[in-house]
């Protein structure tokens, strides 16, 4: 069963929210889940309404089914020093690197190395053992957006191409091995709009070409239409029966100004056009043949309660 869940999506689709809801959903009684962010945006702290997260794994919430969720904001520079210390026991030399600006170099001119460190930390947390068993039952990664996800997950393959031998090469191969195994699943969050769907389709193609596994497509912020299909078909053609609407509004006790019926019909028309576009986009997603999960729009915005509601939806 997959233990590393990578959540990506175009900016604005709610991938951080979905990652958090997924971590809560996975937190069954007695389970420990780690929720990781790597973009340095402190999105998790904002979401859970806590102060900015340090580079420490700390308990952030209890899942609806009783398990525990821990959160970690990975900082590339701290991860590099930790890495050097862990594998090379370089206390002082690490400091020396920092002093000559090597750490700066790593995180600026070679941003790819940043991704190496971030994926390295996720790899370490996913397979870490404590007291003879896995430290976490699952790790959920709030990953970079779809535009960068292929590069991000494949960065260790690139490294393996650069470093032909040596410890870096071994580490890169090990990380790639885990990302390409059934331990790892990538989930793509989308809205039923043109660009996010196009990016999702492109990302699926790209990720599969890289031998990575797609877990599910999460269609977020789904709104159900109050209009049935017949009404939608009429509304699209601007043929809603205005006489019936006039009569209906009177029956409902609404005083009708001159333009109210026309305005409501126009609103229904615009709505029907949008629903039509959404259905086209949904068809394109269904054509992928992947598992599709729908999450309802939270009209009041995302707070603790909404997050739990989403987690319950994901559990089903």
């Amino acid at each position: 069963m997959a233990r590393l869940h990578v959540v990506t999506g175009k900016g604005g689709t709610g991938k951080t929210t979905v990652a958090a809801a997924m971590a809560l959903a996975l937190a069954e009684e007695g389970k420990r889940i780690l929720l990781v962010e790597v973009e340095g945006r402190q999105g998790l702290a904002q979401l859970f309404d806590v102060p900015p997260l340090p580079y420490v794994e700390r308990r952030i919430a209890q899942g609806p089914a009783g398990g525990e969720v821990f959160a970690l904001a990975v900082d590339a520079e701290a991860a590099l020093l930790e890495y050097l210390d862990m594998y090379y026991h370089l206390g002082r030399a690490g400091k020396a690197l920092e002093k000559v600006g090597a750490i700066d170099f790593v995180t600026t001119i070679a941003p790819g190395l940043r991704d190496v460190l971030l994926t390295g930390k996720v790899y370490e947390a996913t397979r870490r053992k404590a007291h003879g068993k896995l430290a976490y039952d699952a790790v959920v990664l709030d990953a970079p957006p779809t535009g960068r996800i292929g590069r991000f997950l494949n960065v260790n393959h690139e490294v393996a191409g650069l470093a032909k031998v040596g410890p870096i090469r071994n580490q890169a191969d090990a990380i790639m091995g885990m990302l390409r195994s059934d331990v790892t699943q990538v989930h793509l969050v989308t809205l039923l709009e043109e660009m996010p769907v196009q990016e999702t389709l492109d990302a699926v193609e790209q990720l599969e070409a890289l031998d990575l596994r797609i877990g599910s497509i999460v269609v977020n912020m789904v709104r159900n239409s109050p209009l049935d299909d017949d009404a939608l078909a009429l509304a699209v053609k601007e043929k809603l029966p205005t006489a019936e609407l006039t009569k209906g509004l009177r029956a409902a006790g609404i005083t009708i100004g001159d333009d109210l019926v026309a305005t409501l019909a126009t609103e229904a028309h615009d709505h029907a056009i949008r629903i039509g576009l959404e259905r086209e986009n949904r068809d394109r997603i269904d054509a992928l043949g992947k598992k599709v999960v729908e999450l309802a729009l939270q009209p009041e915005g995302i707070d603790h309660g909404a997050l739990f509601d989403l987690a319950e939806e994901l559990r089903r």
Binding site: L84, I168, L227, L264, A265, R274, P299
Partner: protein, 372 residues
Amino acid sequence: MNLDLDALIDDPETRIIVTCGAGGVGKTTTAAALGLRAAERGRKVVVLTIDPARRLAQSLGLTELDNTPRAVAEVNAKNGGRLDAMMLDMKRTFDDVVLQHATPEKAEQILANPFYQALSSSFAGTQEYMAMEKLGQLHKQAERTGDWDLIVVDTPPSRSALDFLDAPERLASLLEGRFLRLLLAPARGPFKLMSAGVNMAMSVLNKVLGAQVLTDVQTFVAAFDTLFGGFRQRAEKTVALLREPHTAFLVVAAPQNDALREASYFAERLRAEGMPLAGVVLNRVTTTQAPELSAERSLAAAEKLEEADKSPLTAAVLRLHADKMQQVVGDHKRAERFRRGHRSIRIVEVPALADDVHDLTGLRQIAELLTA
């Protein structure tokens, strides 16, 4: 205060417009629509887009990344303007810089280096550098040839919108850094001149990266060294260009909390950097022609009809209106809060459209709304 975008694009002193903001708020569409309107009002415009939606790209006649501005057909030129558009190809832009500024022999060496290839094509962050580089190039070309008198630039959908501003500074400061000098040192002089700390750092790198990787990096940096001066100079020039009064930044946002937070952050940052903020475009604001029918009344009426088993169609339409009114009220509240928090910033609100933009007519419609 209201933002008058027609005044902005009609002012011949406006030479560069930069649209920035969070992803998914309509940055690129805003850039394209303003470019089109400016052209049809007589400006000679080039629009630099980064990663546009497919249909938007098609509406500008852009079918492939070719890194060269192309004339957009069907632009109304009766006022003497023109519109060119291009999509940024970051690898090609980088290669061009190398080819232009290095000797042919050195250029070949750089282009073939595995580190250069990784840096220029697959590593994040390069897009920001190259967007700035391209802006500098277009500006130079405009000054030299007079092809354009207005450049409209979209910014990359980066991790944070600030990367775009930081890229040149970061590059410039990095090039001054000791570490690069250090990597270059073995190619230049004896190791013994270095401090103990530097020696230790080098031995760590050798141990961690392996000798072959270090050699590749050193070759790359050595070959690249001659270019660095030029990079730094141009990066500084571009930043200076962005501070000039000829430049206008437009922060694009949508009336959602995240996007507004990002917009506030960006506005503050521009102010701190001394960069000219023209105003904020508040996109996709939900509007209605029937504000007198509130969400509550609409919903109550729908329920009344449903209970009485009368006209389910009317009930559904009323529910739809109730949803819409909730959004209208929410958007208005958030927009007002933003206005109150930023009294000195000019703002224009743009109503949400039902359909995506997929042709010039759609872009013209957006432009009308932007300047209404």
